[in-house]
Amino acid sequence: MTAAMPGFRLVTPRSLAEALAARAADPLARFLAGGTDLLPAMARGLVEPETLIDIGMIAELAGIAVDGDRLRIGAATTLARLQADALVARHAPVLASAAATVAGPQHRTAATVGGNLCLDTRCVFYNQSQWWRRANGFCLKREGTVCHVAPTGTRCHAAFSGDLAPAAMVLDASVEIAGPGGRRIAKLCELYRDDGAAPLCLGDEELLVALHVPAASGWIADYAKSRVRGAIDFPLAGVAVALRRSGDTLAGLRVALTGTGSRPFRLAGTDAEIGHGVDDAALERLDKLVQKQVSPMRSTMTPAHYRRRVAAALTRRLVRRLFAEAAQPPMRGGGATAPQSEMKP
């Protein structure tokens, strides 16, 4: 039933090139970062790699540094480090506040930025033991032919449930990707696609190297998460908001969501609010926008309609609060919602 951990080989490359070579050499290899998502999945037979490539010893994937007009966060940076890092606190505190909501402290000691961004999607019919899934006839995402969430459909609706992605999205972050063909930079939003069975637009042999966060003068941002318990739980819905205020109106507004569908995404249509104040009518419009664009399905114990509503509620609340805070002079010492200062090399 629960299984002894399946057999695999562990390799520990010291450079990016070695890691990519190891990946190319074995089509059944997987990159291992913190392992807090991959190892439980392996224990349940959800992933059966023959080789694990430990990417924790690669210098290029480590560290947080200001690089020109952006913050560069190595993919192997742990969430605990993200929470405590001074540069992050100064330039992108929303990442720290999102990281603080992930799982529990022990997970965050090990869990990494890359692993969080590349998290597998989740579903109550999927994150179960081999015995359980077999008894249930498996499902589309793996080994089966039907989806128990939407039996008439042809795709998997498992939910992307990482907390970091929306926070990085409202900062307009990009990811640096290395692969057999070299390096590329992609907008974080473009890393994801709306398919629970294959949620990442990342080649099998590609590796996330770093997260790039551009300077964002005058923006203020935060992350809010809905979950049943005060810790451990994945988001039922997670909302990140970044906004800029000019006088009594919005000068910029970005909203991104997680947990409400198979991919994290930037809410479309928020630009329409620019130039307006944040009053009840504006919040109502945003509420509608969120409810329309999220697509939660019956993939959690908690009903989908709640996830839709609470996503909208958190958005309203966060926009209202940040707009009010943006009117105040910047606080000393940062804090999750402190306005971000300009980055200088």
Binding site: M1, T2, S129, W131, W132, G230, V310, A313, L314
Partner: protein
């Protein structure tokens, strides 16, 4: 006995005597026991909810190198179960499987990987039968019976009526009825199930180490299922990581481990995964409670009528007792003259339910305290006033024949009302914040044991030896509740010695006397009384020896602080060791045996099933819960809890606090987040991520007030402390939520989605009403 100004062993905030082992990692739990030669046991479980077994082909598994034994239903044709009148479960399914996860076959192999491979090689063929996942579906006309003899899948119906219920309702100023639904919950003890079995082929003897709360039952069932004499079996309970009722019954994996060990002629360790632990279940059933109360203008309850339907799962287990308890514990908390109860225990194709902390009373108490609150509001009465209008006057006998000798509920009410500043706070309502209260009670041990042998209900042995140490031998299982500590305290108090002088050895059937185990909060009361008896006998021997040395009348010799003396006498007193030497001089080491039996008068009313719910001492509790409801997200935050618990004399106030806090908090889990759920019989939450045991983040401060009503029959006046306050939490919370947002929830758990849904519904209704008003 305790008059003098000496140090007392009871009434002290004594840390657990086995605490040092627990905080250093030295405590050995079943999975920790070193057995390098042990084979690894694994269990094949049914993927079907209800099916006829066609074939279990184990040939390939048996042939796999490294496999030492494979067993199936063919290896044991004996049923087992906790109630002698309702044993209908096999260790490994025979004929039929009745729930997804039911054990079908098991393997012992040299390592886990081999055992798992062997499990994968077993071919299990079965023919599906109609399966039922709700009590309604199982009871519907034409449903296929799960068990012969239960045509409508009703395992047991109970119909009790005491007093004139019709007249009671007629006399009421207000009559209300409501139906409450409580989701199934489970124990979720943090230690997963495990057992280690060792078969001695040479002697034909078995030793089993297991996580049991009642090793005695396991012993009986091992003998029955293995067909081995009880004398050839030894059951040992190492440290146990929580039980909460799950481990009261003998569980299938314990028997399977033994069957495997015998088949392999060696040792087999079976460690269940968290998922398997959840499948083994025995938790609190999904329950529908239809309750009708009549209330007079002053809040007095004139009559109660209650119908309870429990979705019991696939086997009998404790079912009959659970459904009887639910009715019996409508009584003995308030003074209600007319009570009707109709209870139905239903078989379904889900893992069997059983006993869980607050066994039987919890969901019914929830309904009762919620409806009482609602009716108080309707009559313009304060919730406290309504409870006070219905207090029992102990001593008394309830309509169903239970005897209540002590009741501190009135004081509990006073204490929490004051501690929570109830009156001031209720007068200043804040938006989204609310205060609610409720009461609850529980038994201090079932008056009649499940196995009616005529033997004493509890036995404790004490051994005093040349080294001056006292060894207390008990079969009562300490599962973290601190029973060994309390027994040591009782014995030390009687003997006038330091607790540290007493060593407790518990739960090794080769050494310790039989005990009926740790369930229904019986240990402090019953085993405590047996310890008291044993200690008194030992004390007598020591006093006699001391009297001889002091040349005094034994009647006036006392022992305190380990010194024997004649109060007011010339002699400075004799040290304990000196008296021990004198006492042992005659016949060597002294062993005394103490026992306790509940007198027949306390064993309940004459009605069928009347023994269930009867006890010698009821505990009482009242609590106030403060909540903040986030009306945008529907999240309920419990800000604070004040609880007062009447446990009679608190033998160890530290322990009492810990037990009460744990109970209240477990009620919080059931109220807010915990729920097993099945998808066609497959558990969706058989893990600790989806089964939402509260984390430290949302767990509130819990202020405990101890009320000591001092029971005439409890050891030093003590009653139970480990269960009684659980049942009050959920209704107190629901009442607090009603106070905060004006919505009364009829379903547990009250999750944020239900709150948002209800708020949206109310907004719609208000809009509609306004529109109607405008028209």
């Amino acid at each position: 006995m305790t008059g003098s100004a000496r140090d007392h062993a009871i009434g002290r905030r004594l840390p657990l005597i086995d605490g040092p082992e627990k905080v250093t990692g030295a405590a050995r739990y079943t999975a920790d026991i070193a057995a390098p030669d042990a084979l690894v046991g694994r269990i094949l479980r049914s993927p079907h909810a209800h099916a006829e077994i066609v074939e279990v082909d184990v040939a390939a598994a048996r042939a796999l190198p490294g496999v030492a034994a494979v067993v199936t239903g063919a290896d044991c044709d004996q049923t087992y179960g906790v109630l002698p009148i309702a044993m209908n479960e096999y260790p490994l399914a025979r004929g039929r499987v009745r729930y997804r996860g039911e054990p079908v076959a098991a393997v012992a192999a040299v390592d886990a990987a081999t055992a798992e491979r062997a499990i994968g090689l077993i071919r299990f063929t079965a023919r599906e039968l109609p399966a039922y996942f709700s009590a309604d579906a199982a009871r519907a006309p034409g449903a296929t019976p799960l068990h012969a003899g239960s045509p409508n899948n009703i395992q047991r119906e109970v119909h009790h009526e005491f007093g004139d219920v019709t007249a009671g309702f007629a006399a009421a100023k207000l009559v209300r009825e409501a139906t409450y639904r409580c989701a199934e919950v489970t124990h979720a003890h943090i230690e997963p199930h495990a057992a280690l079995a060792r078969w001695d082929g040479e002697r034909g003897q078995l030793t089993l180490w297991t996580v049991s709360q009642v090793p005695y039952y396991v012993h009986l069932m091992l003998a029955r299922c293995l067909g081995v004499a009880e004398s050839r079996i030894r059951v040992v309970k190492p440290f146990v990581g929580g039980g909460f009722g799950a481990r009261t019954e003998t569980l299938n994996f314990e028997l399977v481990a033994a069957l495997l060990a015998r088949a392999a002629n060696g040792a087999v360790k079976v460690e269940l995964s968290r998922e398997e632990t959840a499948l083994t279940h025995r938790g609190r059933p999904e329950t529908e409670v239809r309750l009708k109360l009549g209330m007079a203008e002053n809040g007095r309850v004139t009559a109660a009528a209650c119908e309870v339907v429990q979705r019991g799962g696939a086997y009998a287990g404790y079912g009959i007792v659970t459904v009887l308890y639910a009715g019996a514990l409508l009584h003995a908390i308030y003074d209600i003259a007319a009570v009707r109860y109709d209870g139905y225990r239903v078989y379904t194709n889900t893992p069997p339910c059983g006993a869980m902390r607050g066994h039987g009373t919890v969901n019914v108490r929830h309904a009762f305290e919620c409806l009482m609150d609602e009716m108080a509001e309707a009559l313009g009465l304060d919730p406290f006033a309504v409870r006070r209008a219905n207090l029992l006057a102990a001593p008394c006998t309830t309509p169903n024949g239970a005897i209540v000798n002590s009741c501190g509920l009135a004081e509990c009410l006073d204490r929490v009302e004051r501690a929570s500043a109830w009156r001031e706070r209720r007068r200043q309502p804040a938006p989204g914040r609310g205060l609610g209260m409720a009461c609850s009670h529980y038994v201090s041990g079932a008056a009649k044991p499940v196995h009616w042998t005529g033997e004493p209900h509890a036995v404790v042995n004490l051994k005093l030896d040349f080294d001056g140490s006292v060894t207390l031998l008990t079969g009562a299982a300490d599962i973290g509740q601190g029973s060994s500590t309390v027994l040591a305290q009782v014995a030390a108090e009687v003997l006038g010695i330091a607790v540290e002088r007493i060593r407790v050895i518990a739960n090794d059937s080769a050494v310790t006397p039989k005990d009926n185990g740790s369930y229904s909060s019986r240990v402090t009361f019953m085993v405590g009384n047996a310890a008291l008896d044993a200690a008194q006998k030992l004390r007598r021997r020591l006093i006699e020896a001391a009297a001889r040395l002091l040349d005094a009348d034994p009647a006036i010799v006392e022992c305190g602080d380990e010194v024997f003396r004649v109060p007011g006498g010339q002699h400075e007193g004799l040290a304990f060791d000196a008296v021990v030497r004198a006492a042992l001089g005659e016949a060597g080491p002294i062993t005394t045996s103490g026992s306790f039996t509940v007198p027949v008068a306390y064993q309940g009313g004459k009605q069928r099933g009347g023994a269930v719910g009867a006890t010698m001492g009821y505990s009482y509790a009242a609590q106030v819960v403060e909540v903040a409801v986030d009306q945008e997200t529907g999240a309920i935050a419990v800000e604070r809890v004040w609880v007062a618990h009447d446990c009679g004399r608190a033998l160890n106030p530290l322990s009492v606090e810990g037990q009460v806090q744990g109970s209240v908090w477990m009620g919080m889990g059931q109220a807010l987040s915990e729920e097993t759920r099945y998808e066609d019989g497959l558990p969706l939450a058989a893990n600790l991520l989806d089964y939402r045991v509260p984390t430290i983040q949302e767990s509130p401060p819990i202020d405990v007030q101890i009320v000591e009503s001092v029971d005439p029959n409890g050891p030093f006046g003590a009653k139970e402390a480990g269960e009684g306050s659980l049942a009050g939490f959920m209704p107190a919370l629901a009442n607090a939520v009603a106070d905060a947002i004006g919505v009364r929830f009829l379903e547990l758990p009250i999750t944020p989605d239900k709150v948002l849904e209800a708020l949206a519904k109310r907004r719609r209704e208000l809009r509609l009403a306004a529109a109607r008003g405008a028209a």
